[in-house]
Subunit: 730 residues, 2 copies
């Protein structure tokens, strides 16, 4: 060959090799980069939505509610095994699952000596569906009410608030040594006895008024099994403690070796015996009371005009006959398990999305909590199947939890947060709670802190509401429960988080953005305080199937909401927590403080100026961060840049914690959501301190506390703003 | 061409193209990966080491110590401007710098009425170098001691410990209404007055015994300016508060609007007046005391045998003449500034390495704190120059800090941690403190929590010690101060962190791994409690240059140590925090508990078993993590994997915090390093509770507290182990 040809071949070969190198380098992505950063996969999301099955939720519920499963009983332990088995299933299980056991203090009625109120007609709920009697049905009682057999003249004390007892005293009624009959609602369960004892009351009975639960219906044929109404013998059980968590191991996991407070002197237990009763028993007592007529707002739906007492008219019961309350509860240490399931995150295994519900019930607990657990199991089945097939693995880790002993005071979840305090606080993106999944089938109810509103709304807009309306859950929700937001206009109204379920330790103690999801009723159609058979032996599968959600479509809707929210939180590249939604809350708290407390504060030399500045600083920092995230989304941000922004979003809620803000409120550290006793809807510490100080003089310790609480809020808001600012702006 | 040739060419071309593609794909890294992940650059490290200049440190010190610069005085403000100017310098400055001002409560002597103790010979330090007098030299006083003019018979109370006062009482000496003369050391400054008041003492004088500070020398010609010894008129000033931080804004940043405790009733201030005096004045009093001879251990180096009093022998002073202590201190609100400088991290700007020192002095403060600030400025100059030249930018962000009002109780640093609590706790990798950089020129002194030992040792092994030995700082250190580690054998002995300087709020309040670095003396050559002119008007540039570090080589060595540690923490891909070094501490605390408390605990039904298990769990988790990091280092780990491991290392120290462990100890939340009053070197909460309980009966509240403290430690250790385990192992 000629040299020209050789050169030509050489040049050609070099060119080809070069082209190959160029192609190889630029045209074929490196394996690690194949798919770009892992983000929410809409196809997976739609698959999950489609696969969440109403029929399987029904089957789950049938199994879960087959037998009563009070915390730590053998049937509760059976369900622990059921959960474990499901979560370890080779076809539809999770990566790992295990139980964690705590030794917790429960309160149980005596099996030998039933709790009674005499004169009356017993305490047991009557058989109506073959499920109300039997050895595993715990008799109605007030858990943690102390044992005792007080007796005295009966008075009627309405809801048992401080104001109610004051009213009775103002009527000249001597409460010393009396038994107070109170109705559920307004005041917390235990508060009725605490308030009563302060006025000399020696025992408390608590009943459910048909006006508050049955829209007035009280006859057997108007109630379950003929309607969703509470039968006359139905009694709401419940925990009557003042705190949540294991009562004797505050801030410590209730391990067998843990230090325990002395049961006999620990705070949080009632000072006097208490016992709940059904309205048929209450009627006997209440409709025979003598004394002045109770005011209009105290009247209920029993078949008489309510009087205040003390003592009886002399009709059914002798005039001076005393009522005797016999409580034989005892405190027992029992082993209670949480079941924890884990799906390892593919990209950020050290970021956790926790989704949980309690497992224990008072009796069969078909609604509370099994409607939630039935949903949890269906969500885990669908996700587990995708996982085991290799179709999907979330970006972040997912923790599924079945909590024990919630009915006794959120014990399982609280002990969990105590045991894993540090790592949960460092790593948890959000907590999702679905306890009762279906109260009724009208509309979604979403509760949570402001950052989760966005992800709940996003999910709700894409899921059809049950029934024939054709509306999305979001559009249906807005019809039932809406508000006018200064930022967004008309939107569904989100609720806030108290301590009603297992989200409480997550939000109040750990400062983790939390939410609770459920389907609920049309408040224009019923004034029921809650679904009528709540905490009774009538909360059964038949009740759910007949009256709450016959086709389980509302259960399915909640499963889709929980599944969608869970996937968005675990899979989205940028966390779907919209921290700027806190601005609206802070602004409204500020305005309430300015309007309702401002003048009073000025009189005491306390200015709201620094608070206003702090709110403005927060607003500016949150808006700027939103803008930075938008800008970042335009680029192809590297994984560390995304992580840094996500850490700011995740950790914002922590910045509102101050463990020294409310030393007397066990676990409550979140300066925005601690219990508020004042009617002014502003920062709780400020509101409560003002209400205490308002009757004291200039310069009192109470006014100093007002100033301290204001400074605590200002520092928290400024600290929160600082966590949102660019991380390189010290 | 024949078809064979054509095919041959085609095959060859395809092969070349294919080879090219393969080469291009596998052999050439993508641009983004070109340089590998940013790690510690040894060339930069060596450049920094070489450029840190002794001469420039000397110049810094000359300027910084030119005038007295008591906190918040005009000269202190001048130095704020000097710092700002240096850190904003276009050639050698940082990315940004700013000041943050707090309104803090200081205690100052009256300029009209000098504090006095009579009969005596005045209170002022005598002129020896032309720097001891002048309007800016604050007279010796006990900051925060209350004003008052108590008088009474004088007693000598040694160090003023509780035991010392008890001893006096046991000798039949009536302490009621007496003035106690005490010497510095053993008990904290304020503790002497607190202890004395408990026994009826009405005023306290505190002097520095030449036996404790001057190795016995007390004559003018044996002391400064003729040696490093304290002149007879020298008086140690100091803060006499019980807490650190601004005394009236605990847990809140001292912003002008912040809530403040009532100055007149706040805890932490002394119950009785106190005043420090020089030993020449003390000698007059002490050597004229009558009464029983003081025990041998109470004798000092003044020219007489010490007697206990009360009252005088009748020689120089009339027998029953009383000593009058006149204290005219007043509390004032003053604006104090921190200066903050910032270098933005290139890769992880949201991870901070904080390096700080205080700026304020008692008088000229050439040693305390300017020897540290001179080093800080030199480190910032060298790093700033590399930064401005574009040669270097750290992986993580660096925060440099000049704290205000440290001498009054670590005020500037504490307010800083209060203001930025959340973001500092989330993001700070470590805190480096260099306060007094050179006490003397014999050896390095390193103090810190176990995770920083490793990075200090690594730096110390690579830097030459000053002087002709040719040894590394590490090898020199081991000669002066070593211990036998069960893990490493013979190593330098690290100190622990109390509350002696600005690291205190970082470690005790925020739970950030912290360290303090200095050069110090040969303890075999002097028994001086601290360098002799500490907190006096003799702590001047001349003193440093003549007696501590004439060629500034020890200053340079400390600058190199600080610079090296800072670079390693900010630039290393894997954080050089060795968390497994905590295992040794925990094991030794456990062994001390078993040996010294075990039997007693068993008698009270408290088992150390759970503590032993917790220590074992921690050890296993720490060892495993170390192994995982080693494995990871073999791969080319992606940046998120590294970040996840680094977060575990960074956040370990936080897991030891429990803000509810020691409610009475302001800021102390770290369950391993809270103040320990017991002599048993174990977990402080456990040790202190045992020592309180030891005199009480079985079942006492004190024994319950022992059990609570044990459970707190167990929970903290188990929580710490949990943070170290694989993040996908729930």
């Amino acid at each position: 060959m000629q040299w020209v040809k050789l050169v030509g071949l050489g040049v050609g070969a070099a060119a080809l090799l070069g082209l190959g190198i160029i192609l190889g380098h630029f045209a074929i992505p490196k394996v690690a980069d194949t798919s770009g950063p892992q983000d929410l996969d809409r196809e997976i999301l739609e698959t999950v939505m489609a696969q969440l099955d109403a029929g399987r939720i029904r089957e789950n519920l049938l199994e879960l509610s087959k037998e009563p499963h009070l915390a730590t009983t053998p049937r509760d332990e059976d369900l622990v095994q059921l959960l474990l088995q499901r979560w370890k299933d080779p076809v539809s299980g999770l990566d790992t699952a295990r139980t964690v056991e705590y030794e917790v203090l429960l309160s149980l009625p005596s099996s030998e000596q039933p709790n009674l109120a005499l004169p009356s007609v017993g305490n047991w709920e009557e058989e109506v569906t073959g499920e109300q009697e039997g050895p595993d049905v715990v008799q109605p009682y007030a858990a943690y009410a102390p044992p005792g057999t007080p007796q005295g003249l009966l008075v009627y004390a309405n809801h048992g608030t401080e104001d109610d007892f004051k009213y009775l005293q103002d009527q000249g009624i001597n409460l010393q040594g009396t038994i107070a009959l109170t109705r559920y609602g307004v005041a917390g369960r235990g508060a009725k006895a605490v308030n009563g004892a302060r006025h000399g009351v020696v025992g408390v009975l608590v009943y459910t008024d048909p006006g508050d639960i049955n829209d007035g219906h009280s006859l057997p044929n108007e109630t379950f099994p003929y309607s969703w109404g509470l039968p006359p013998s139905g009694v709401e059980r419940g925990s009557y403690t003042g705190y949540f968590g294991d009562p004797v191991t505050p801030y410590l996991p209730a391990r067998p070796s843990s230090f325990r407070l002395d049961w006999n002197s620990t705070s949080g237990f009632l000072p006097i015996p208490a016992q709940p009763i059904g309205f048929q028993h209450a009627e006997d007592l209440l409709c025979n009371l003598k004394g002045p007529q109770a005011p209009a707002s105290w009247q209920g739906a029993l078949s008489c005009v309510y009087h205040l007492g003390p003592g009886f008219t002399g009709g059914k019961f002798p005039e001076d006959s005393q009522v005797k309350v016999s409580v034989h509860n005892r405190l027992v240490l029992r082993n209670s398990s949480n079941v924890l399931g884990f799906i390892r995150g593919a990209v950020e295994p050290d970021r956790y999305v926790v989704y949980g519900n309690h497992r224990d019930s008072w009796v069969h607990g078909a609604v509370d909590p099994s409607s939630g657990t039935a949903v949890l199991l269906e969500v885990s089945r669908v996700l587990g199947t995708l996982l085991k097939r290799g179709t999907w693995r979330p970006r972040r880790s997912i923790v599924l939890a079945s909590w024990g002993a919630e009915e006794f005071g959120l014990i399982g979840s609280t002990e969990f947060t105590e045991e894993f305090f540090s790592k949960l606080q460092e790593r948890t993106v959000a907590y999702i709670n679905v306890d009762i999944s279906v109260f009724a089938n009208a509309t979604l109810r979403g509760q949570g802190t402001p950052p989760v509103q966005n992800v709940i709304f996003s999910a709700a807009k894409e899921i059809s509401s049950p029934g024939p309306s054709g509306l999305s859950i979001y559009d249906n929700w807005i019809r039932y429960n809406n508000r006018s937001s200064p930022v967004y206009g008309l939107i569904p109204s989100m609720g806030t988080l108290g301590a009603g379920s297992d989200y409480a330790p997550f939000i109040h103690f750990l400062g983790i953005s939390s939410m609770d999801l459920a389907y609920t009723y049309d408040q224009s159609k019923t004034s029921a305080r809650i679904y009528p058979t709540y905490h009774t032996a009538f909360d059964t599968f038949k009740y759910v199937e007949k009256f709450l959600d016959p086709d389980f479509s509302s259960h399915q809707a909640v499963a889709r909401m929980a599944g969608s929210v869970l996937l968005r939180l675990s899979d989205s590249l940028f966390l779907p927590l919209k921290v700027s939604d806190y601005s609206e809350t802070l602004r409204s708290f500020l305005q309430a403080a300015q309007q309702d407390l401002g003048a009073l504060l000025v009189q005491h030399g306390i200015s709201l100026g620094p608070l206003e500045t702090a709110v403005e600083n927060f607003e500016a920092a949150a808006t700027d961060l939103g803008q930075r995230i938008s800008d970042l989304q335009q680029d192809s941000p590297d994984s560390l840049k995304v992580r840094m922004v996500n850490d700011q979003l995740m950790l914002l809620e922590r910045a509102f914690l101050n463990p020294r803000a409310f030393p007397e409120e066990r676990y409550y550290s979140h300066v925005l959501w601690a219990p508020r006793t004042s009617s002014v809807t502003t920062f709780p510490g400020l509101a409560n301190a003002c209400s205490k100080a308002s009757t004291t003089d200039l310069g009192s310790a109470e006014w100093a506390e007002v100033h301290r609480q204001l400074s605590i809020v200002v520092a928290a808001l400024e600290g929160a703003a600082a966590t949102l600012r660019p991380v390189d702006d010290l």
